[in-house]
């Protein structure tokens, strides 16, 4: 029985039918394999997925530090997104940093019965009076869509009454099949209402936006540090340590860098159409990948000085971390890892692990789409279903005032052959034969995969962290880094290597013997399932 069959063996016929397409055992890397993704989670199997609201408010909008983001709904949703992503932000020039706050309309039964618009308006009035923000955002939760509160009308009212920016997001939890729907909704409205409303021009020759970097554990700061060192001006970051004041000028940048493809590719694409800004898929997780990303950026701008500076910085940064990385590699070489993150990190971190001689034997995404697994070339073949149809596919047209192309068509095509220009090859192609890719892991599958693959470290989130540790395997949180970080860029790579080395050398593991460590291979039924 192959590994995949073993995992699926305990499912009922109906679940088997569904899950079989979400689990792929890679055979021949050259022959592309397809995987089912971005479809509904199966009820009752302990999916790790969150909801649409989580993707919109929790992920994309939450880190915007100068925005008062009000959760319109009962108290739970607002409470649960309060500081839970561990994004970091430092107040900007206006001194405003609301990232430590949670704002909610705290709807009660009468609000559900009679409607909550009035309460929302009053809450906004109070927010304006107390916090004087330049921008307010409203995120709705499940009941709001059902009782028909028109949050968009409230946003218009707010703009007229208080002369500030106000954007509403209908990101009710039940929309779509995962957080992914929320990313899309957030992307659409940022594009529609925020990007392009500023007029602050770049002050330097080479300017970029970093898209899909949420500054978990300070990743964005390390990335920006490297870019600034080379001489790039970072116009805006979506959205780690980001601000409304910056992203409204995002359209003035020369180039978009896409870090988390899943959550932000919509904006990258729409900005290309509307403003002519090209984007490249970068990855600042992993030393080799960071170097690749920096070189591709230099290749894009094709400027001799910039290229020289890029190489000088790379050489210096590499020299600074070489000893540390070599040491940690000597400690970690040959170990095996499992990776299960949201929609991009499971791929990104494979590169960093490879830098350290660690092989990724199993990887999966919580809410990715097929293109994140198989590459953007499959996008035309992805079928829209009832759930994805409900999320608006926004179309934009070139902006007469701001549209400009940096590269000629020929140059673009020529460059596209050399670098990841508006391309993303996905995770699967980077994985070895015999490894398994799983979409939308659940608790049961996590246990099975650990028993089958016996990874030395399993990287995932807080919900499965304790399951993994109970089984006797090192767990590191890659959603929020267990208080550590940054893991991005050059210095981050060393942090990651150090944390992983600390994890595997924790003395407590000497007293813990997972049963499968002592049994060479597992035959027959999966443990504990009879």
């Amino acid at each position: 029985m192959d590994k995949r069959t073993k995992i699926l063996d305990n499912y009922s016929a109906r679940v088997f039918k569904n899950r079989k397409d979400h689990i792929v055992e890679l055979e021949d890397a050259a022959d592309p394999q397809s995987i089912a993704a971005n479809s509904r989670a199966i009820p009752g199997v302990m999916t790790n997925r969150g909801c649409c609201y989580a993707g919109c408010k929790g992920v994309v909008l939450g880190p915007l530090k100068d925005v008062v983001t009000i959760t319109h709904g009962p108290i739970g949703c607002g409470f649960y997104t309060w500081g839970t992503r561990r994004n970091k932000a430092k107040a900007g020039d206006d001194g405003k940093n609301f990232i430590e706050y949670s704002f909610s309309t705290d709807m009660q039964e009468p609000d559900i019965v009679f409607g909550g618009e009035k309460k929302l308006k009053q809450a906004i009035t109070e927010a304006v009076e107390i916090f004087k923000p330049a921008c307010i955002m409203i995120c709705s939760t499940c009941p709001v869509g059902l009782i028909g509160d028109d949050i968009h009308a409230v946003a218009t009212w707010t703009e007229e009454t208080y002369k500030i920016k106000c954007v509403a997001y209908s990101c009710e939890g039940y929309k779509g099949v995962s957080q992914s729907a929320g990313h899309h909704i957030a992307n659409n409205s940022l594009m529609k209402y925020v990007i392009g409303t500023g007029d602050k021009a770049p002050t330097q020759k080479f300017s970029v936006n970093i898209l899909g970097e949420y500054n978990i554990g300070g990743d964005g700061w390390e990335t920006s540090r490297i870019l600034k060192r080379i001489g790039y001006e970072v116009i805006s970051v979506f959205t780690g340590d980001g601000s409304y004041e910056e992203i409204k000028n995002a359209h003035t940048a020369n180039l978009n860098l896409v870090q988390c493809h899943r959550s932000i590719n919509y904006i990258a694409e729409m900005m290309k159409t509307k403003y002519g800004i090209d984007w490249i898929k970068v990855n600042f997780i992993g030393v080799d990948e960071t170097v690749r990303s920096l070189r591709e950026m230099a290749a894009y701008f094709d400027d001799a000085d910039l290229t020289a500076r890029t190489e000088a910085v790379i050489a210096d940064e590499l020299a600074n971390i070489a000893d540390d990385m070599a040491y940690y590699k000597s400690k970690l070489q040959g170990k095996k890892a499992g990776l299960f993150c949201g929609g991009s990190r499971s791929h990104h971190y494979q590169n960093l692990l490879a830098d350290l001689g660690v092989e990724t034997v199993v990887a999966g995404y919580e809410f990715a789409h097929r293109d994140d697994y198989e590459g953007r070339e499959v996008i035309p073949t992805i079928k829209t279903d009832a759930d994805s149809k409900n999320i608006e596919e926004m179309t934009v047209t070139p902006d007469e005032k701001h549209f400009r192309l940096l590269l000629s068509k020929e140059k673009f095509e020529q460059l596209a052959k050399a670098i990841d220009l508006e391309a993303y090859a996905g995770m699967i192609k980077d994985m070895g034969n015999g490894t398994v890719v799983v979409d939308d892991f659940n608790h049961y599958e996590t246990e099975q995969l650990i028993e089958l693959f016996k990874p030395d470290v399993f990287y995932s989130g807080v919900k499965d962290k304790y399951v993994i540790q109970k089984i006797g395997v090192v767990s590191r949180q890659l959603h929020s880094y267990d208080y550590s970080g940054p893991y991005a860029g050059f210095k981050g790579a060393v942090n990651f290597a150090r944390d992983t080395t600390m994890g595997v050398s924790t003395p407590a593991w000497n007293y813990v013997t997972p049963p499968w460590r002592t049994v060479p291979t597992l035959e027959g039924k999966i443990g504990g399932e009879e």
Partner: protein, 875 residues
């Protein structure tokens, strides 16, 4: 006193009912939970519980999608139940609803009925719990689930001798203790729920994903036949009370009691158990005695405790009981739940203890958010907070310690092992609270005593007045700090003016040349004029009229402001009369600080900068050539010793009176670079606000002229190293003594000579070529390395003629990069190689060496280009 007149909840002090429900169900043996709604609800709740308990938390979801909101979620829930049973094999499943399911009106009972019909062999007990997230908070969801459990489990009505013990949310460790206590009392009981194991699991060889401990269905079925029910909750209402349900349906009498936390509540609980047949063991008597002994031992520390207690109402009541009997006054009692009888049920003990300890005001609020709690905590001067980790932001912001002892605790481990129940638990918690109070006391009381009884002794009455107005004064200073560009990075839009009124100096620093060069702040520039107080006042008036954002008047030399105290005093007095709102800021070497500190405060100075390069006289001796003090010139260690002593005494005096102090330290390679962290720690201890570690700017003619420079990287590294101790200034622009404007934009040139004529001497010489680094094209105002182009001028000393602009690539793009030996410098050098000198605002060490090697002169200045070029030609 419900004060939630607001519609915006800022930082919630409550969670939703589904959270309570699934937590309670974790205390039922072999029970799994499924939330009927969007999958986000279970994901969020799992995440929060896992973080607190450090255990796997599995709560399934029916994963409703948009389709479910239209057609109903029955099929999702049925599928969810099937899968949950297959993967986890539970004996009980709790189905809790969510906002979504309740809003679309799902009939859970009917769905469960259909499920049983479709699965006739299913033996799993499925219990529906109605938990709309908008109806109540966590504790209400908790009791709703327990009531649903007793209402749905088939009961055996046969009488037994058991006592039902029903609790709200208590920790696993407390649950284990409670069971031991009951076992020790020798009674037979059913504990609902039993959270002892499932959320505080042991590490075993084979992990079992089904929570396998807790109250079993069999035990629950005996609750109907029990002789009595004790419901350990102060606030549970009859409609959701399991005890009430058992009474109404099975005639089991019940009593509702506070959680047994503290002596009286535990006594009451044990008395009740004894009445029901329990026997007190000698060991329990000892345990009680031990707690009582501790209460006596620590009463003097506790009596100074003023607590903010917040959380779910039953928890708040339990902690109030413990605090009040120990003389800790709960000045703020708050719950996020809407709880109409909150005040009625908690006030009596608070009132009593407050009266005994002379506390006049205390607040009790329900439906409170943390914004409200924070305000009350400050207003009523609480010195300890007791509750969950959500108050950590308030704790950090205002340095009020937080005792974490309620769910959720996200920033510490051991939430599952918190103890407060019974005598032993009360003792544990009391010790934690007492030690928290002691910890704060230990670090401050010597200082306070010294201030109050020693230094303050000769001016007792002003001190008392000072106390009363302290709050107000501190607010004013805080506001002034917020608009001071040097103290607040975000205040860059506000302008300041430095008035050059103080030419004399009393310390000779080795990095300074006393030619109107500033000894304090190592400014690159000088001042072009010295003003007398009247001129300075006129200048202020002129500038203020043109620059309404002018908030700060600084006296920063060019000598030492206190060596010229009469001028300083007169200037400040004149300006204050004209503009009472202005912020006075003063920088000094600190030598005369002890003498003039009180005068400065009386003059209204709120911000003082002291340049403190060392606190070790041995090191100081290398930095200061001499110190003129009280008519005597001191050198070497004795001079440095006097200076350092006075600096430290002066700083202490100022900070203890609320003056915001900044310390500047010039980093001198091989002299004080290893010592700076010690300096920083010391000034932090003295109460300074921020330190500014600066580069040495070597001045020709000074003793340190040839000292190697520290580069930006080293400075940044040093600041980072020191940042753990005290806030660091990263945005210092090392201003001139006569700077005017915002930090980023010095406009002092526009106001030069506006009160007195200035003169420039000119000589005629042969024309030379100069390369000027300029941003504006008007002034020499750019760092050499930042320049992307140079303006080339020719001058014979009389006239200055613009020749051309030369573009070069910028080779220096920021602090991280300054020391990079990129080949670009060659481009710059080529661009200026035919020039006699380069003129720049600043220049790095390495380029200046290269220029010197090429025989090109360097003029570091800040001036109009024409003037600077002419001056350079004259040199």
């Amino acid at each position: 006193m419900g004060i939630n007149f607001t519609n915006l909840n800022v930082n919630p002090c409550k969670m939703c009912t589904p959270m309570g429900s699934v937590t309670a169900l974790y205390g039922i043996k072999k029970c799994m939970s499924i939330l009927h709604g969007s999958q986000g609800c279970s994901t969020y709740i799992r995440r929060h519980m896992a973080t607190h308990y450090n255990e796997p938390v599995d709560i399934a979801s029916s994963s409703l999608t948009e389709e479910g909101t239209v057609f109903g979620g029955a099929s999702n829930l049925i599928k969810g139940l099937e899968n949950l049973i297959r993967l986890y094999n539970p004996e009980v499943i709790g189905v809790s609803t969510t906002c979504l399911a309740e809003t679309i009106g799902e009939d859970i009972k009917a769905i469960i009925k259909n499920f049983y019909m479709a699965n006739p062999d299913c033996k799993v007990k499925i219990i529906p719990v109605s938990t709309a997230g908008y109806a109540g908070t966590q504790y209400e969801g908790f009791f709703k689930a327990l009531q649903a459990v007793v209402a749905n489990v088939e009961m055996t009505t046969e009488k037994n001798n058991k006592i039902n013990i029903i609790t709200g949310l208590i920790s696993p460790a407390d649950t284990r203790y409670l069971k031991q206590l009951l076992d020790g009392l020798g009674v037979s009981y059913v504990l609902l729920p039993d959270l002892a194991e499932n959320l505080d699991g042991v590490h075993v060889d084979v992990y079992n994903r089904l929570p396998s401990e807790g109250t079993s269905l069999e035990e629950i079925s005996q609750m109907a036949g029990a002789k009595f029910t004790i419901e350990l909750s102060t606030f549970v209402s009859d409609d959701i009370s399991p005890a009430k349900y058992l009474e109404e349906h099975y005639g089991v009498p019940y009593k509702r009691m506070d959680l047994p936390v503290g002596l009286q509540a535990t006594d009451a609980f044990i008395k009740q158990i004894v009445e029901l047949g329990g026997v007190i063991s000698p060991e329990l008597t000892k345990e009680r005695g031990r707690y009582l002994d501790a209460m006596v031992d620590s009463h003097k520390y506790n009596a100074l405790g003023r607590a903010t207690v917040f959380g779910e109402p039953d928890f708040v009541k339990a902690i109030i009981n413990l605090c009040c009997e120990n003389g800790i006054v709960p000045v703020v009692s708050a719950t996020g739940a809407a709880c109409s009888n909150f005040q009625a049920k908690i006030e009596a003990p608070i009132k009593k203890v407050a009266a005994g300890l002379f506390v006049e005001n205390y607040a009790m609020v329900d439906d409170a958010d943390f914004e409200t709690i924070e305000q009350l905590t400050l207003d009523l001067k609480a010195n300890v907070m007791i509750g969950n980790s959500d108050a950590r932001r308030i704790s950090e912001k205002h340095s009020i310690d937080l005792v974490r002892c309620a769910f959720p605790i996200h920033d510490r481990v051991g939430g599952q092992r918190i103890q407060m129940i019974g005598y032993a638990g009360s003792l544990q918690l009391l010790d934690r609270i007492s030690n928290t109070l002691l910890g704060a006391k230990e670090s401050t009381f010597r200082e306070e005593l010294y201030e109050k009884y020693y230094t303050g002794s000769d001016k007792k009455s002003p001190q008392a007045i000072h106390e009363v107005t302290k709050m107000n004064a501190q607010e004013i200073i805080a506001q002034k700090t917020a608009t001071h560009p040097c103290y607040n990075c975000g205040a860059g839009q506000y302008a300041r003016i430095h008035l050059p009124i103080a030419p004399k100096c009393n310390v000779q620093c080795n990095y300074c040349v006393r030619k109107y060069d500033c000894p304090n702040e190592s400014r690159p520039g000088v001042t072009t004029e010295i003003l007398d107080p009247e001129q300075a006042f006129q200048k202020y008036v002129i500038v203020k009229e043109k620059m309404p954002n002018l908030k700060v008047v600084g006296i920063a030399g060019p000598g030492d402001s206190l060596a010229n105290f009469e001028q300083t005093k007169e200037t400040l007095t004149l300006i204050k009369e004209y503009d009472p709102e202005v912020t006075f800021c003063l920088s000094t070497n600190g030598l005369m600080l002890p003498l003039y500190a009180q005068d400065l405060i009386d003059l209204g100075v709120t911000h003082v900068t002291v340049t403190l390069n060392a606190i070790d006289p041995k090191i100081g001796a290398k930095i200061y050539k001499y110190v003129d003090y009280m008519g005597v010139r001191y050198t070497g260690e004795s001079g440095a010793g006097i200076l350092i002593g006075n600096q430290l005494t002066g700083l202490k005096y100022l900070t203890s009176r609320g003056i915001i102090c900044k310390v500047n330290t010039v980093m001198l390679k091989g002299v004080n670079d290893d010592h700076i962290e010690t300096v920083v720690k010391k000034v932090k201890e003295l109460g300074c606000e921020i330190t500014n570690i600066m580069q040495l700017i070597p001045v020709a003619g000074s003793a340190f002229e040839d000292m190697p420079l520290v580069n930006n990287k080293e400075i940044t590294a040093m600041r980072k190293q020191c940042e753990v101790h005290i806030k660091q200034m990263y945005h210092c622009k090392q201003c001139r003594a006569d700077a005017i404007g915002t930090l980023g934009n010095d406009v002092s040139i526009e106001y030069r000579g506006c009160t007195a004529p200035s003169s420039t001497q000119e000589k005629t010489l042969e024309a030379k070529r100069f390369a000027v680094a300029t941003k504006s094209g008007m002034l020499v105002d750019q760092h050499f390395g930042h320049a992307s182009e140079f303006y080339i001028y020719e001058s014979d000393g009389k006239t200055a003629k613009f020749i051309e602009r030369r573009n070069v690539e910028k080779y220096c793009t920021g602090v991280e990069h300054c020391e990079d030996k990129a080949s670009k410098i060659d481009n710059i050098l080529t661009a200026v190689k035919d020039c006699h000198s380069v003129l720049a605002l600043r220049i790095g060490d390495s380029p200046s060496k290269r220029l010197q090697d090429m025989g090109i002169g360097i003029v570091v200045t800040y001036d109009r280009i024409e003037d600077a070029v002419k001056k350079a030609a004259n040199q």
